[in-house]
């Protein structure tokens, strides 16, 4: 046997043993592909999930599917961009403030990122639609680079801004292995029922209704609960309320975030969009620092940026939890923003 043959034999042995060591990983990958918990490989109809009256954990995808399913028959031109907080902005209420030609659509996502918002604007442009009217609702934490540190398995459905396809699937794969996610997802997989516990951050809470054309979720069941027995509601979600005596100012946003905001402005200006930028309140008082607020005003224009970060923060009755303010707060914000 020559030296080269000997070396080749060793090489083959090494490759075989490495593959053997990787078998457990392979088994996990195969299981993930077969189950596809985030529905990013095999596809699914999100409306099936909605029929169960429980929002799927991939609300961003739900929004995208709803938009794609209806845009041929509905000429959307008014879009609400933002996180789950925009759910409480009633489209009908918004329409009162807009000209008659406005056709509104909720284009939000749970834990929406700036990249996710830009992705959605990209999609609208790609489909040849115009953003004539828009609301951009921001939460202070959205400007932090660590925005998703709390719930790492919350994922954007669409490819993130400038993310390649491998990274996209790798991100979902790693999220599916998150033990907090598995704790909730595995029981769901076997029972088909979601657990609406305080610890559950996989599924959204049960909703009262869903309008697929506007992509509007109706959570007024929370209002009903609070109206009926507010103490019971606040006790049930007590861990979701962190009373803060003073503001928690989030650090200055990075250049990367600023570039994304500038890109948003460019897109909206290209469409001559009539838009408003809203900085909404949060009960736990996470607020932007004044430099960033000034920067936002410089980017989007003083007349377009509305700072409501301190609106109603003194009372938990204005909030469903730490960050979601109630329908009536959203209504009053829209009234103030549009000056009617």
């Amino acid at each position: 046997m020559t030296m080269a043959d000997k070396e080749r034999k060793q090489l083959n042995r090494f490759v075989k043993r490495t593959l053997l060591a990787c078998l457990p990983l392979l088994a996990i990958v195969v299981t993930y592909i077969a189950i596809d918990p985030f529905n990013v490989i095999w596809g699914f109809n999100p409306m099936d999930k909605v029929a169960e009256k429980s929002e799927p954990f991939n609300r961003s995808r739900l929004a995208v599917e709803a938009y794609l399913n209806h845009r041929d028959s509905v000429d959307y031109n008014a879009f609400l961009f933002g996180s789950s907080r925009t759910i409480y902005y009633s489209v009908d209420e918004w329409k009162h403030h807009l000209p008659d030609d406005a056709v509104c659509f909720h284009f939000d996502a749970a834990w929406e990122t700036l990249e996710g918002m830009l992705d959605k604007m990209d999609l609208i442009k790609e489909k040849g639609d115009r953003i004539k009217y828009a609301i951009l609702e921001f939460h202070a934490d959205q400007f932090a680079d660590t925005a998703h540190a709390e719930i790492p398995y919350r994922q954007d459905f669409r490819l993130r801004h400038s993310e390649n396809v491998f990274a996209y699937h790798f991100r979902h794969f790693m999220s599916a292995l998150n033990t907090d996610f598995l704790k909730v997802y595995i029981p769901y997989l076997f029972t088909g029922k979601m657990e609406d516990t305080e610890e559950n951050k996989v599924f959204e809470s049960p909703m009262r209704g869903y309008d697929p054309v506007k992509n509007e979720i109706d959570y007024r069941n929370f209002d009903d609960e609070i109206d009926t027995d507010s103490t019971a509601y606040f006790n049930r979600y007590s861990r979701h309320y962190q009373k803060a005596a003073v503001d928690s100012v989030v650090p200055r946003m990075s250049d990367e975030r600023i570039a994304l905001l500038r890109e948003m402005r460019r897109r909206l200006n290209a469409d001559s969009t009539d838009y408003r930028v809203i900085l909404g309140p949060s009960f736990y008082r996470h607020v932007n620092n004044s430099t960033d607020v000034a920067l936002l005003r410089r980017i989007f224009g003083v007349k377009r940026v509305y700072d409501f970060q301190h609106l109603g923060v003194e009372s938990q009755s204005n909030f469903y939890d730490n960050i979601h303010y109630r329908y009536f707060i959203a209504d009053s914000i829209m009234t103030m923003v549009y000056g009617k």
Binding site: Q10, A149, F170
Partner: protein, 467 residues
């Protein structure tokens, strides 16, 4: 392309298979392939900055050749000035321009700072220092200038250590590239094992700690008010483990990847948190940078040959420069200065405290002492500004240290990691030797793999990429 990305998980096996199955025993072609792979690796960040690497490569290669023919100091000097100028423009210009404007403003002169809208090229400090080391070694006639541009370009751009070290010496890496490599089964197995351990450090230690560190450092007031100073202290401790897991994990992956290709890189970390003195710490932390500064700055400054006072001054200057090397921020300079003072004070009191043996449990008090100094240093390092650190430190002093801190969960990863590090401290990396039956070893690999997969961490960029 980051080591903790899926792209690298695909890239490395492809390079490995082509390297050994297709190009083995054809040195020239194998080196060309390695160079292309390295450039592809770097281009995945920003292909435009490849021009900088190529420029550094060509200027260093040709000035070294010219220097060897005569006018040694002139050509070496030109290359050093040119490369440092590039580094300065990309890394420090804005910092110095803004600092100058602020300084002028403080004395009543309003100056508009001219700043450049440039992005910092990944790894520029690492490959620039490697190239400068080569130039100086040639000038000192410690090595002969390379005559093969492909080998030399591969030496500068060798992908496992291109963006975050270890900073290699030409005398060690270049001959390995210039000579035919043979596949060595044992080396390859150790390489894989070191990669696995590096990934564990990065994903299950650094990234797990990062989740808590980011939260605590972003809202220290809130954490101090709600959980007490103990959480802030824990935040600083966790950052010490984050940066160690992050950087030494990167180094392990780099060394392991190179081993797979039949190339040995130098050890960059040697269990620094088991150090028993400041001197000992700096012999264990970022070894390749420390020794670079020793050989190319400290010794040319006179080292310890010009009296005690000058020795202390030289030590302090080296630490200050080492801090500045990390980036254009006063916190890095303060970090370097802090270590400089600690090093000098230790030397003044105890003389040069070095050890030839490995640490033992009876050294626990000195290890804890040095660890505390390291934690304070890294808290400065992690702070966005000096004033932030001052505020953070005052919060630590003003609220309760006895409360149960938030973020203790991370210790579930840190403590077992420390135990493994302690048990393996006689090896070049903790799990280098696994004297156990093959099936137990495979089970152990599977366990580590599961730890990585289920660590619940959020993939973070390697900290040292920014340097």
């Amino acid at each position: 392309m980051a080591f903790n990305s899926i792209i690298y998980a695909l890239f490395l096996p492809v390079v490995f298979l082509l390297y050994w199955y297709v190009f083995a025993r054809r040195l020239r072609i194998q080196n060309v392939f390695l160079l292309i792979a390295s450039y592809v690796f770097y281009a995945c960040w920003d292909w435009r900055f490849l021009a900088l690497i190529i420029f550094t490569t060509l200027s260093t290669f040709f000035t070294a050749k010219l220097a060897a023919r005569g006018q040694l100091r002139l050509w070496t000097g030109i290359n050093i000035v040119v490369n440092l100028a590039i580094l300065f423009v990309f890394k420090y210009f804005n910092f110095f321009a803004e600092s100058f404007a602020q300084m002028m403003s403080a004395v009543g002169w309003e100056v508009d700072a001219v700043t450049l809208n440039v992005v910092l090229p990944v790894g520029i400090s690492f490959y620039t220092f490697q190239a400068l080391g080569y130039s100086i070694d040639v000038a000192r006639r410690q090595i002969k200038p390379s005559s093969d541009i492909v080998s030399f370009a591969t030496f500068i751009a060798f992908f496992p250590q291109l963006v975050a070290g270890p900073i290699e010496r030409a005398s060690s890496l270049l001959p390995q590239i210039e000579h035919e490599r043979r596949f060595d089964y044992t080396e390859a197995v150790l390489g894989m094992r070191q990669i696995l351990w590096g990934v564990v450090k990065k994903v299950a230690v650094a990234d797990v700690c990062a989740v808590y560190v980011d939260r605590i450092f972003s809202q220290p007031d809130m954490y101090a008010a709600e959980f007490g100073a103990s959480t802030l202290v824990l935040g600083a401790v966790l950052f010490a483990f984050q940066i160690y897991g992050d950087f030494s994990g990167y180094s392990d992956i780099a060394i392991g990847s190179a081993r797979l290709l039949g190339i040995r890189l130098r050890q960059n970390f040697r269990y620094p948190y088991f150090s028993r003195s400041v001197t000992d710490f700096w012999g264990r932390w970022h070894i390749s940078l420390t020794s670079w500064f020793r050989d190319y700055v400290y010794i040319p400054l006179g080292g310890n040959r010009r009296g005690v006072g000058r020795t202390y001054f030289n030590i302090f200057v080296v630490f200050l420069l080492s801090g500045l090397w990390h980036g254009a921020n006063f916190t890095f300079i303060a970090w370097g200065a802090m270590w400089g003072v600690a090093y000098v004070v230790e030397r003044m009191i105890f003389g040069k405290v070095t050890y030839t043996d490995e640490p033992r449990l009876r050294n626990i008090m000195s290890m804890i002492g040095i660890f505390i100094v390291a934690v304070i240093g890294f808290a400065i390092f992690r702070s966005p500004s000096i004033s932030f650190f001052g505020h953070y430190a005052s919060l630590c002093a003003s609220s309760s240290l006895c409360a149960i801190p938030s973020g203790l969960t991370a210790m579930a990863y840190v403590v077992p990691f420390l135990v493994v590090e302690w048990l393996g401290r006689r090896n070049s990396f903790s799990i280098e030797r696994l004297p156990m039956p093959a099936w137990v070893r495979y089970l152990f690999y599977t366990f580590l793999l599961m730890v990585v997969l289920f660590a619940n961490s959020k993939p973070e960029t390697f900290i040292y990429f920014q340097f």
